[in-house]
């Protein structure tokens, strides 16, 4: 830091000398100030806006998680539930009524009270949201609650939400039309953060309007997010790509140690690394697995998240009848050397996946059929199926890194080499992630094989296998009513033991009978901070809270 400072000082002096009128200098304060200090954290992308209900991506959620609270929250570093704005919650045996005991004495950032009426106001706001534009942006709400009071545009789901009653100031009762396995974990989703009803109204929060081919968001989402969280929104400087938050001194829990928290948006991975090395940021998200070692050597802490992301090799038999044969799909599974892939390409903490969910999720079955690397068996199965040398169009994405695939091209290179080794002719097709990959693979189903994955939102088996295989999808090109029925049944069982057992059976069947894809690995991306940063706990859900973070003087 010292040399640039000196250079800047010299330049400043020069400019002062040049200027003819050296009168009053600016009245703005130059530095951070008090003891807690400022932490600057490098984000990989810009948030869409700050109203959690209209967002579904990690870059928008990161600031939201510091400013808002949810009824239930996830225990730091785990996917377990713990009290948030609700101190406890109970449900009726049929899972259709949920009662939340709310934390008393909590205030929103605008000074208004948090209470049962505020909770119900939020749920009612979501349920009654008007306009196709606004509804289309509520991805998580749509996913969990399926429908609105009045579905607009093409939305057609029947609503899971019925109503919300404020029984007394600190008790909110939520009535649902049906049970889903997602509850209660889904109440911790960042999208379902509780906003100040007063601020929502004051800043016109529901006014999402269509402008040409896009949407513009109201003042609430852009400049006035008002929650109960440990940090308060100060500014979003779009020209300089920084989001500034300050400590909320009225926070209900243990107050934040930092005075200011700044998220600096640096999309380029190498640029983030260099900013950390130059000392202009204190940490950043998603370091490249290749850099863990050098980052540690330079005195930084690499905090690795527990695996909650899954990479799979998708199989689509629609255009390639050879793939309809289970033996061919099994041959593909045997052909991939997943141990080598994990060892050579993936960061520490990555595990070979035996099924389509991480082992921490209820419903994980330890006794599924496994497909250890066995090229000879793969060749034998192909021969047996009468398809010794099938030709497969293998799609992989470019212009993207995802937690489950830090470097898609390299993973593709390894997998296609494995497939070629057993006699499969691979036709490589690269597509930009937003430039047709998802369309071709998920909508049109043009591929035979493809790489894709998923990062879990909460600890629920349905959030993994249900999302993948719960209904007919172009991505997997099959139609297997028995599989869909089994998944729907498992999701509808409120009893935890029955729920888990049903999903375990689904997992066994998926790996032996259906094999609609090959699970490759589960992994968690890392977060890196300087040596003098304490208290940041990496979360498998990427739900990191900076409230516990402190920064010591020593560099």
């Amino acid at each position: 830091m010292s040399v640039p400072r000196r250079l800047v000082a010299t330049l400043t002096a020069g400019l002062l000398a040049v200027s003819l009128t050296a009168c009053a200098t600016s009245d703005r304060d130059a530095g951070g100030g008090a003891a807690g200090g400022t932490m600057v954290f490098g984000a990989a992308g810009a948030p869409k806006n700050f109203d959690p209900i209209f967002n579904d991506d990690g870059e928008s959620f990161r600031p939201a998680r510091q400013m808002f609270d949810t009824l239930i929250t996830y225990k730091a570093g785990t996917t377990e539930l713990e009290p948030g704005l609700a101190t406890s919650w109970t449900s009726t045996p049929d899972g259709k009524q949920w009662t939340f005991a709310l934390r008393p004495g909590v205030k929103f950032h605008d000074g208004t009270d948090f209470n049962a009426a505020a909770v119900c106001a939020n749920f009612d706001r979501w349920f009654n949201m008007k306009g196709a534009a606004a509804q289309s942006q509520m991805i998580y709400y749509g996913d969990v609650f399926e429908g609105f009071a009045k579905n607009e545009g093409d939305a057609s789901g029947s609503p899971v939400y019925k109503n919300c009653q404020a029984k007394d100031a600190n008790t909110a009762v939520l009535n649902l039309n049906k049970f889903k396995g997602a509850f209660p974990a889904a109440f911790g989703l960042t999208s379902l953060s509780i906003s100040s009803p007063t601020a929502l109204k004051q800043y016109n929060a529901d006014a999402v309007t269509q402008s040409g081919d896009s949407f513009t968001y109201p003042a609430y989402a852009n400049e006035h997010p008002t929650g109960t969280g440990p940090f308060k929104f100060e500014s979003y400087d779009k020209a300089n790509q920084t989001i500034t938050m300050v400590r909320n001194d009225q926070y209900w829990g243990e107050k934040a140690k930092l005075d200011r928290l700044i998220f600096k948006i640096i999309p380029d991975e190498n640029a983030r690394k260099q900013e950390l090395a130059a000392g202009t940021i204190d940490g950043y998200d998603l370091p490249s697995p290749a850099d863990y070692g050098t980052l540690k050597d330079a005195g930084n802490q690499v905090l690795v998240r527990k695996p909650f992301s899954l990479l799979y090799l998708g199989i689509n038999p629609k255009n390639n009848p050879a793939l309809k044969d289970l033996r061919v799909r099994q041959a593909i599974a045997y052909a991939i050397n997943r141990d080598a892939l994990v060892r050579t390409k993936m960061p520490e903490g990555t595990q070979v996946a035996t099924q389509f969910m991480p082992d921490t999720v209820a419903g994980y079955a330890p006794d599924v059929t496994t497909y250890p690397y066995d090229p000879a068996k793969a060749k034998a199965l192909l021969a047996e199926a009468g398809q010794p040398n099938p030709t497969l169009n293998f799609y992989y994405p470019t212009e993207v890194t995802r937690p489950y695939m830090p470097n898609p091209a390299d993973l593709f290179a390894a997998m296609s080499a494995d497939l070629a080794a057993v006699g499969i002719k691979v036709n490589p097709v690269a597509r930009p992630w937003n430039g047709g990959y998802k369309d071709d693979v998920q909508k049109a189903g043009k591929h035979d094989l493809h790489m894709l994955g998923w990062t879990g939102d909460y600890n629920d088996a349905g959030n993994f296998v249900g999302t993948f295989f719960g209904r007919p999808k172009a991505e997997f090109g099959q139609n297997d009513p028995a599989m869909y029925a089994a998944l729907a049944k498992a999701d509808s069982i409120p009893d935890p033991a029955g729920h888990t057992a049903a999903y375990q059976q689904v997992n066994r069947d998926l790996m032996s009978k259906y094999l609609p894809a090959v699970p490759i690995l589960t992994t968690g991306p890392a977060i890196v901070v300087k040596g003098n940063i304490q208290g940041l706990v990496p979360s498998p859900l990427t739900d990191e809270r900076f409230v516990t973070v402190s920064k010591s003087e020593q560099q």
Partner: protein
């Protein structure tokens, strides 16, 4: 016989030569042979072309072949370096970097040369017509050129590459060539514009020389200098543009195929772990670009009609 006859014959022969443009080339060749800059450039190009032609014979291994002895030591944060049988060590996928460097020369040559040639041919055609004919042809062609030029070149290249059903080497070549067409066109038109008003062209016009002849014999040779300089630079930038497309994921889809730009782009995540993976292709690109430009520069001087005095 007598001296004057010989003299007259020689003179006639020389005029014929000039008329057929023969001695211009011969002259240029003679002067190129004496120019150390040209020789350096030519040697680099020759070595590059030879390596790329014989690449499959020179490379000990295939571009997609991964080796267990390399894979065993390969980790996300560690890429094995030089060792027995692998003089440049492993790449990020456990393949032989040395073989890939050699095999890549062929793809790189293909992309650079074809993209430049296509760009040059179409650009020169447009520029000649616009600069020579003038009037409405000039206006229309320059409007089209302006439209093409006004789109940031990378955006243009990206869109062409993205429009194709599948990104491939062909789409990269077309994309890069298209970016260069308007540059050549406008440059040539600029110098033709100046030529059109110059004394020797006015003189030729006054003497009743036909227009196409004036354009080809008097304007073009004098105007082509900057275009050749540009073309030599374009050979380098074509390879670099292709690398930029690869950097953005719009290059050749087949990771089994080796290409320097692609190798440089895919080495980005490993800059701290093994910078050599980026340095080798970067140096190769720089040296080859150097070769083309040195030779092109010498060629420009040699071809310059004024230099023949």
């Amino acid at each position: 016989m007598s001296a004057p006859t010989t003299w007259a014959r020689r003179r006639r022969a020389r005029i014929d030569d000039t008329a057929q443009g023969r001695s211009l080339g011969a002259d240029a060749l003679r002067r190129l042979r004496r120019n150390p800059v040209a020789i350096t450039g030519a040697v680099i190009i020759a070595v590059f072309v030879l390596i790329s032609v014989f690449a499959p014979l020179l490379a000990p291994h295939g571009p997609a072949e991964a080796f267990p002895q390399l894979l065993d030591r390969l980790r996300p944060g560690e890429i094995p370096g030089a060792q027995d049988g692998f003089p440049l060590g492993s790449d990020q996928n456990g393949r032989d970097e040395f073989s890939r460097m050699i095999l890549a020369s062929r793809q790189t040559l293909l992309v650079g040369v074809l993209a430049t040639v296509f760009g040059l041919v179409f650009g020169v055609l447009i520029g000649v017509v616009a600069g020579a004919v003038g009037g409405w042809a000039d206006t229309v062609l320059m409007r089209v050129t302006d439209v093409l030029l006004s789109i940031p070149s990378l955006l243009l290249a990206i869109s062409v590459a993205a429009l194709a059903a599948r990104p491939s080497q062909t789409t990269v070549i077309i994309a890069v060539a298209l970016v260069n067409v308007p540059i050549f066109a406008r440059l040539l038109r600029g110098s033709m514009l100046a030529q059109r008003e110059s004394d020797h062209v006015l003189a030729a016009t006054a003497l009743g020389v036909k227009r196409p002849a004036i354009v080809v014999r008097h304007m073009l040779p004098n105007a082509i200098g900057p275009v050749i300089v540009q073309a030599t630079l374009t050979l380098a930038t074509a390879i670099l543009d292709a690398a930029a497309l690869s950097f953005l994921g719009l290059g050749d889809a087949d990771p089994a195929r080796a290409e320097w730009g692609l190798m440089l782009a895919t080495a980005q995540p490993y800059l701290d772990v093994r910078p050599a993976l980026a340095l080798y292709p970067a140096l190769a690109i720089i040296v080859v670009a150097l070769g083309f430009t040195l030779f092109g520069e010498a060629l420009r001087e040699a071809l310059d009609p004024k230099g023949r005095r």
